[in-house]
């Protein structure tokens, strides 16, 4: 479906909601095509091709809001969805901050390159070759790399449109391609795993050699890993791990949790709580970020919001609801994972601003410590309300400023705000990490972290 057709669908849905008794309504319509290839041992294990479309309707009766979604875009189907949304709104309690987002005067930004036509034009045979190449590269990195669990390649081509009863209307197209794999290295009965990944707007944006090499090297370098002694020491977080931490900080800076008192950052705006070495920005306009879009999930133009800088907590992230409730302006951070979920505040692309130290300099600054390459159990190990974390980790020892033996089966623990203050330096080489949000980060040196080992 074209963006213009989707916009018409959204229009009809808004009209249908009004005729069911909604005082205001908003409709988000989406269409997508996607392709997934899984390769193992040079063979295609599975190939999935899909198309989908649907619409989600948010309806208001005064200050009560309800949501409904569906995949039937016929007039009858849209009528049912609209009626379900209005019916849902009748159950909600009055909430004076709840209203359809107003149209803003700011024009939505035009972002170059959100969609790369090559995503549609690249034949499946070519992306299969790309996945095979990634596997071969991983296997060739070291004799110990015995197999690759699976190379997964995915691309998506999406159009989305929004229409509201208050005059918001717009649409955009975007594309994404990504690939990841897990390589297995073996020595005697020991097995270690290594992860490699890459993201882009089309298959051409993926570097097969780099993705494969990362997984192979990662797995091989972990062979012979031992458990470190429990202690407190300097750590260097890899770009991947630093991105995970940034993601949790971004989540805790979303105004809904802050306003409900469920964030360690509540009532801390303007406080000097971070190291001046660290700057984090939410950037919904960076062409390289997969979350970039001209407007957010409720039609508000996306923007750039510095969150942490000069040692201070600078801002929270808002959608129209939290903005109204907090007497602030929306930062354009209403996110939708798809038409199946109503908008809610979330980070767009988080940027950990690169510093001036090279990776080698960070290791040298650390002296004796641990380079953390992987964390596990983040979901259960970080409490977003209290900010305390204790997660499983693996990595390499740092001795005399250089990488030494591999380490595994230990935990790192602390609390988010303390960790923000303990950052000593941020590395200069950054990359996009697509796990748990879209984050661009460099490695980070943290002065002290509690290690739980033997």
């Amino acid at each position: 479906m074209s963006a213009a057709e989707l916009e018409r669908v959204a229009h009809r849905a808004v009209e249908a909601a009004a005729s069911c008794g909604a005082t205001d309504a908003e409709a988000w319509a989406e269409g997508s095509r996607s392709r997934e290839v899984r390769v193992r041992n040079g063979e295609v294990e599975s190939l999935t091709e899909a198309s989908g479309r649907g619409v989600g309707v948010r309806a208001w009766i005064g200050t009560r809001a309800g949501y409904a979604y569906g995949t039937d875009l016929s007039d009858a189907g849209l009528g049912e969805i609209a009626e379900a949304a209005v019916g849902a709104a009748r159950v909600a309690d009055e909430d004076e901050s709840s209203a359809a987002p107003d149209r803003t005067d700011d024009a939505a930004a035009a972002i170059a390159g959100l969609r790369d036509e090559a995503v549609e034009g690249t034949p499946t045979a070519e992306v299969i070759e790309l996945a095979r190449r990634i596997e071969q590269v991983a296997l060739g990195r070291d004799p110990s790399v015995s197999s690759v669990e699976e190379v997964v390649y995915v691309d998506e081509d999406t159009e989305a449109a929004i229409v509201t009863s208050r005059g918001v209307a717009g649409s955009f197209a975007s594309s994404a391609a990504y690939s990841f794999l897990q390589a297995l290295a073996r020595r005697d009965s020991e097995v270690q795993t290594g992860l490699g990944f890459g993201v882009g707007r089309s298959p051409g944006g993926l570097d097969a050699d780099q993705i494969g090499a990362e997984a192979g090297d990662d797995a091989a370098s972990m062979l012979g890993a031992t458990k470190p002694k429990s202690r407190t020491c300097p750590v260097v977080l890899s770009d991947r791990v630093a991105a995970s931490f940034a993601g949790f900080i971004g989540g805790a800076l979303c105004a809904d949790e802050v306003q409900r008192g469920r964030s360690p950052f509540a009532d801390r705006l303007g406080d000097e709580l971070a190291s001046p070495a660290l700057a984090i920005t939410d950037d919904g306009l960076d062409p390289g970020g997969l979350a970039s879009a001209p407007f957010d999930g409720e039609g508000t133009p996306r923007g750039r919001t510095p969150l942490v800088g000069h040692g201070k907590l600078l801002a929270y992230l808002h959608d129209s609801y939290t903005a109204r409730r907090g007497g602030a302006a929306s930062t354009g951070n209403a996110a939708r994972s798809s038409y199946r979920s109503p908008p809610s505040v979330a980070t767009s692309n988080l940027i950990v601003e690169p510093g001036e130290r090279s990776f080698e300099q960070l290791l040298s600054d650390a002296g004796d410590g641990i380079y953390i390459t992987e964390v596990a159990g983040l979901h259960s190990g970080v409490n977003p309300v209290t900010g305390r974390y204790s997660v499983g980790a693996s990595g390499r020892a740092i001795r005399g400023g250089e990488l030494a033996e591999p380490l595994r089966e230990f935990t790192i623990a602390g609390e988010l705000i303390g960790t923000l203050g303990a950052v000593l330096a941020v590395g200069s080489d950054s990359r996009w990490v697509p796990f748990g949000g879209s984050v661009r980060s460099s490695p980070i040196l943290v002065g002290e972290m509690a290690i739980g080992g033997s």
Binding site: E45, G52, D72, A88, A450
Partner: protein, 461 residues
């Protein structure tokens, strides 16, 4: 009401196989759901949704091709089937005539949640809110959610199978936040089942009190200890540990990729004889239960560990064919948008004969892990980590102080071999399990289980 006419299904399968292939399958689904929350004592976020769609799978040798579409119109289904066939270049294969679908073993639903007025669901949430808040003056916040879902599925394949299922699930979740001076703690509890609204008869609001109690207890907690010690894992939620450290490694796709520490260990002893564990998708009313899996295979009970020995892996059709065995009815998918993969249903450790009280009283110094926030395991290496959401110190054979911020870390095979007592108590709990980007409702269960020499990673370094 039928999702798709079997004659249409037959035409779709024939079209999929029109240029060759060993196996074709049509999976049709109609999903409907409703969710509602309470937060700050205000009913909010009412949401309802419906989706219909189908996935068509064509297997040729070791290669799987899959296409899925929104909608169940014949032309959509045929278009998807033709896309699959277009990539093939062989002789047409003829699907076997579809057998008459066996009437699904009907789930007993006393009260269809979709027929219950939304106001009644809001009332349940208000009860939860009130009960949670009245558990103590230090309870600062209570938020709770109600969700109901109905999935109707129909599966047809080129071997003549025609099967259907109709699954209704209801679930409540509640989180309490307690505050004392600068300290904030949280507690979480759920109630869910493969049942209708009758699940909420009785006193569902008790879970709010339980969640609040957990948060309040933690206010006085000390930082968790770090080091190696004996761990007693609680019943119910404690089953997450077995789910993660053994269940995933027994799923046949992981085994066949050589990415499981349990690969090649069929028949081998991995635990003491006191350990027997099963996966059972037929347990009446349990969260992971169904009549059939998402490939049309009847759900069944599979003993995976019998008296300490591995007796079976968990199979879907594809992986069963590769190993020359029958599917164990574990081919599940989140929606029609995903390929089926081997997944657990309800996984549990069978009750043993130890008295839970004695299991604790025999421990000098140790850790009592009552429930987990979640966990993660790397099946290839067996390394795991679990966040403990409710844990206590054991001192001199008695449960003493609550601890915060504990994690359990270790290796599956080592931890399994160190289980030295299984309690006679038993409880099942509900959860969502994620794998390959697909979410599935799973049940986990056990009584108390004691593990010697486990690493507790705490903040009290």
């Amino acid at each position: 009401m039928r999702l798709v006419d079997p004659e249409v299904a037959g035409r779709v399968l024939r079209s999929a196989l029109s240029r060759g292939g060993d196996f074709a399958e049509l999976f049709c689904e109609d999903r409907a759901g409703f969710t509602l929350s309470i937060d700050e004592s205000r009913i909010e976020r009412p949401q309802s949704g419906t989706e219909r769609g189908a996935g068509i799978r064509l297997i040729d040798g070791d290669q799987t091709r899959y296409a899925h579409v929104d909608g169940l119109a014949e032309e959509d289904l045929l278009r998807a089937a033709e896309t699959l066939a277009a990539a093939m270049s062989g002789e047409a294969a003829e699907p076997l005539a579809l057998r008459a679908a066996e009437p699904p073993r009907l789930q007993e639903i006393e009260v269809d949640p979709a027929e219950v007025p939304a106001e009644r669901k809001a009332e349940v949430l208000r009860e939860l809110d009130e009960r949670g808040r009245s558990a103590g003056s230090e309870v600062d916040q209570v938020s709770a959610s109600y969700s109901e879902g109905r999935r109707r599925v129909a599966v047809f394949n080129s071997e003549g199978l025609a099967a259907a299922d109709d699954r209704t699930r209801v679930r409540l979740g509640v989180q309490a936040v307690a505050r004392r001076d600068g300290t904030v703690e949280t507690g979480f509890e759920t109630l869910g089942a493969h049942r209708g609204f009758e699940l909420l008869d009785g006193d569902p609001a008790r879970i709010a009190e339980q969640a609040a109690r957990k948060a309040l207890d933690l206010l006085g907690a000390d930082p968790a200890p770090a080091g190696e010690m004996t761990v007693v894992v609680g019943g119910g939620f404690g089953g997450v540990l077995f789910h993660e450290m053994t269940g995933h490694g027994l799923e046949a796709d992981t085994v066949q990729k050589g990415a499981s520490v349990y690969a090649g260990k069929l028949g081998e002893k991995v635990a003491e004889p006191l350990l027997t564990a099963s996966d059972d998708g037929r347990l009446p009313g349990e969260w992971g239960t169904g009549a059939i899996d998402d490939e049309g295979t009847p759900c069944q009970k599979t003993v995976v560990i019998e008296e300490g020995r591995i007796t079976s892996y968990l199979y879907d059709r594809l992986r069963a064919r590769r190993d020359g065995v029958q599917s164990t009815g574990n081919g599940r998918r989140e929606t029609f948008r995903s390929l089926p993969i081997p997944r657990m249903t309800n996984t549990y450790i069978q009750p043993g004969d130890a008295d839970p009280q004695e299991m604790i009283s025999e421990v000098g110094r140790g850790f009592y892990a009552v429930s987990f926030g979640g966990g993660q395991v790397e099946p290839a290496t067996g390394d795991f980590v679990f966040g403990v959401s409710e844990g206590y110190l054991i001192e001199g054979g008695r449960v003493t102080k609550p601890c915060r911020g504990a994690t359990l870390i270790g290796n599956c095979l080592q931890a399994l071999s160190r289980i030295d007592a299984v309690g006679s108590d038993f409880e099942m709990k509900t959860g969502f399990c994620g794998k390959d980007g697909q979410r599935a409702p799973v049940g986990t269960g056990q009584g108390h289980v004691r593990i010697r020499g486990m690493t507790v990673g705490g903040t009290a370094v």
